[in-house]
């Protein structure tokens, strides 16, 4: 075998490695310790998108990954550049999103000497990365990049950080791009155990009131079809976690919508009545289950997850299956279809329809102010099925989860685990880079949007047109809601007092700004902006008194949900 060794710099080797991983776009901000890398990137054929804060570069990579399923990449310089991406990495870690962050580092001889712009980014990011590594020798770059992509995108995906001392980037070496690597401690198991599958089949066939709870893992493993086929066969309703939203079309008769602290009333009610819960690719987060012992008290729980550490971490599980969701659901379906015919009706299905009719969110428009639910419903009507919606974090996020019917996987992108305000806008930019032909809308709150609004500059300069819909109550709305319910309306530090003027702000960055006064206004505005070549910020003033309901107060069970504020 002839191995072609080429003598190039570490930085050039990194670019070559990225190309071999089929990276077309990378997000980042240059700085002192990544200058060699940026020099190699110059006219390399890889599109670099200049972010305006490193946190946003990481969120963009994250949005890119979630929209496309392909790992997103970002670059930050050493020290403050690296520490600025920490929130982005933690966000991706909590939501199992594959991003690869490259950080500059001071030269090897300076490490540990507290040199200018030195930060121990390996130490800092160890608890929030799936894997991180500092490259000590330029020769290691080709295999390190291969490892990084492999680890980030296989098993339970997650962020990987590669730290590159500046002199490793400049060092020349004879690089071998054909080299392989071994990971003795990493071998994700994707095949379900046949006995566990058989037991799951038995439980599901005996169940009278089964519910499938679909998590983000259904989307990550591309098993939406398999989940739906199994649900239809058994006439089993599907609820989702926030991260599972979009895994099945929410207009489907078996869809219950999101369950949890701000879940749909019908989903929350029905899940407590279930006798078998088929949980797929989720981690029983406290926001999904609320009080765990009251979540599905009478149900046997089947838990499918690729990460064995999720089994038994939060919920006590009756039947764990550590495997790929797609393979597992396929096998369960194939065995059940041999034993039963497709169910056309059941008393459980009747019960579901009854509860849905009784509890489905009614529109209480008082005619005074614009209802967030109306805006979001109108947005859904205006957008094609494959349009991508991202959110920030807070009231608007929960309204989006409740009222925006996601129809396809990877079209509802939100910071579920970490709850990162400021995530939605840069994530929308990243998603748009991944899917340039699809409309992308960030449903935002005023408080969240302010946290990363400087990346309007990125949108303008890099020509990434998206739409931002700000449900503007001039409050940190979710904080205010809790203060209203639990702190006797003492609005401590939660009022934003209509600063800034989002129209002027958008214009300052070369974007459009539109303020709407009614739902009809919004309807017209959204239709116009979807064709726009520049980003539009639509400011939608709403009442500061609006609450997100239903709500399960902290520490309570699903059955204690408040459906209205009286």
């Amino acid at each position: 075998m002839i191995i072609n060794l080429v003598e190039i710099s570490g930085a050039q080797a990194l670019i070559e490695s990225l190309k071999r991983e089929k990276v077309k776009e990378i997000f980042g901000i240059p700085g002192g310790s990544v200058l060699p890398l940026y020099d190699a990137l110059y006219k390399s054929g890889i599109r670099h998108i200049l972010a305006h804060h490193e946190q946003c570069a990481a969120h963009m990579a994250d949005g890119y990954a979630r929209a496309s399923g392909f790992p997103g990449t970002c670059i930050a310089t050493s020290g403050p550049g690296a520490t600025n991406i920490v929130t982005g990495i933690a966000t991706a870690y909590m939501d199992s999103s594959p991003i690869i962050a490259f950080t500059g580092q001071v030269v090897r001889a300076m490490i540990g000497k507290d040199g200018f712009q030195e930060a121990d980014i390996i130490g800092i990011t160890t608890p929030i990365t799936k894997y991180n590594v500092q490259v000590k020798d330029a020769l290691e770059i080709p295999t390190t990049v291969k490892k990084a992509f492999y680890i980030a995108s296989t098993g339970r995906p997650g962020p990987v950080l590669v730290d590159l001392p500046k002199d490793v980037q400049t060092e020349s070496a004879e690089m071998d791009f054909s080299s392989t690597f071994e990971l003795r401690g990493y071998k994700p198991n994707t095949d379900p155990h046949p006995i566990q599958v058989k037991r799951a089949v038995e439980l599901l066939l005996m169940a009278e009131r089964p519910i499938m709870l679909a998590g983000g893992g259904v989307i990550i493993s591309n098993s939406s079809q398999e989940a739906l086929k199994l649900a239809e066969l058994l006439l089993m309703p599907i609820a989702t976690s926030l991260m599972g939203k979009g895994s099945i079309p929410e207009t489907h008769p078996l869809s219950l919508g999101m369950v949890g602290m701000h879940g749909k009333a019908e989903a929350n009610k029905l899940i407590t009545e279930s006798d078998v819960l088929l949980a797929v690719g989720l981690r029983f987060s406290d926001r999904t289950t609320c009080r765990l012992d009251q979540f599905c008290p009478d149900a046997k729980i089947i838990h499918i997850d690729i990460d064995s550490a999720e089994i038994g971490k939060n919920a006590k599980v009756d039947l764990p299956i550590v495997a790929d969701a797609k393979k597992t659901l396929t096998q369960i379906y194939e065995q059940i279809v041999q034993k039963t015919i497709k169910r056309e009706k059941s008393t459980w299905f009747d019960r579901i329809q009854q509860v849905k009719n009784q509890l489905q969110n009614k529109n209480h428009n008082n005619g005074v102010s614009i209802k967030p639910s109306d805006i979001i419903t109108e947005l859904r009507r205006s957008l094609p099925n494959n349009a991508i919606v991202t959110t920030e974090v807070g009231q608007h996020q929960m309204w989006a989860a409740l009222y925006f019917q996601a129809l396809e996987p990877r079209t509802f992108i939100t910071s579920g685990g970490l709850g990162t305000m400021g995530f939605g806008f840069p994530a929308a930019l990243g998603a748009k880079v991944a899917k340039p032909d699809v409309p992308v809308v960030d449903i935002a709150g005023d408080g969240s949007f302010i946290m990363t609004e400087q990346d309007l500059a990125t949108s303008t300069l890099e020509k990434i047109p998206i739409t931002v819909v700000i449900l503007n109550n001039s409050m940190l709305g979710m904080v205010a809601q809790w203060q209203r319910f639990f702190y006797d309306r003492r609005y401590s530090a939660s009022e934003l007092k209509n600063v800034p003027d989002f129209i002027k702000l958008a214009e300052a960055y070369g974007a459009h700004g539109v303020r709407v006064e009614s739902c009809e206004d919004f309807s017209r505005a959204i239709k116009n902006v979807l064709k726009s070549e520049i980003t539009t910020v639509i400011d939608v003033p709403i009442s500061p008194e609006e609450n997100v309901l239903p709500m399960v107060p902290a520490g309570m069970g699903l059955k204690d949900m408040m459906v209205d504020s009286e």
């Binding site: 130490g123 608890p127 799936k130 392989t180 401690g185 071998k187 064995s308 550490a309 038994g312 971490k313």
Partner: protein
């Protein structure tokens, strides 16, 4: 109610800088308590072996094992069954010996505990005691009345008896991508 007890965990890890940090950091972040940890190289120079003792109930230990397994640089983890495991700890104990009576008493105790005297000075000596942790505790208690100047304990290290080993199995060894 779940019963808490002490478990001994053996882990083979990549012999690389930072792996001890990864492991100890996981314990800290997940709120697990390490009672003792000892690390050393193995017969394979690219692998280190960690012996970790943890106190907790069964469910906690299960999580500890799973979270350890999740660390990419951790190759293999197992719980060592106390009934079939050789467990040893070594301690160096510097005892205050003011007179020859005290000195000869301590030397006798060290003999009984099958230890060694590894250093003697005019008013102190250092005893080396090896055994399970309870034996070391007992020795320390015994000589406390003389006055203990310093104690250094290694933390326990352990191996399964007989042919059983913690090894990266064949398929784990070679996974070339």
């Amino acid at each position: 109610m779940s019963v808490k007890q002490t478990y001994v965990i053996g882990a083979l890890v990549e012999n690389k800088p930072g792996v001890l940090y990864e492991v100890s950091n996981m314990f800290r972040r997940r709120g697990f308590n390490i009672e003792s940890i000892s690390v050393g190289v193995t017969e394979q120079k690219d692998l280190s072996r960690m012996t970790i003792t943890v106190n907790g109930d069964e469910r906690t230990i299960e999580q500890v094992i799973k979270q350890l397994n999740k660390i990419i640089n951790v190759v293999k983890v197992s719980i060592l069954n106390p009934k079939t495991t050789v467990v040893r700890e070594m301690a160096l104990i510097k005892v205050h010996t003011t007179d020859s009576k005290a000195r000869s008493d301590v030397i006798q105790y060290v003999d009984v505990f099958r230890g060694h005297i590894v250093d003697v000075s005019s008013d102190s000596l250092i005893a080396e005691i090896t055994g399970d942790s309870e034996k070391i505790d007992a020795f320390i208690e015994l000589v406390t009345s003389f006055g203990i100047k310093e104690v250094a304990r290694t933390g326990i290290t352990a191996l399964s008896r007989g042919a059983k080993v913690i090894k990266s199995s064949q398929e784990l060894v070679k996974e070339a991508i």
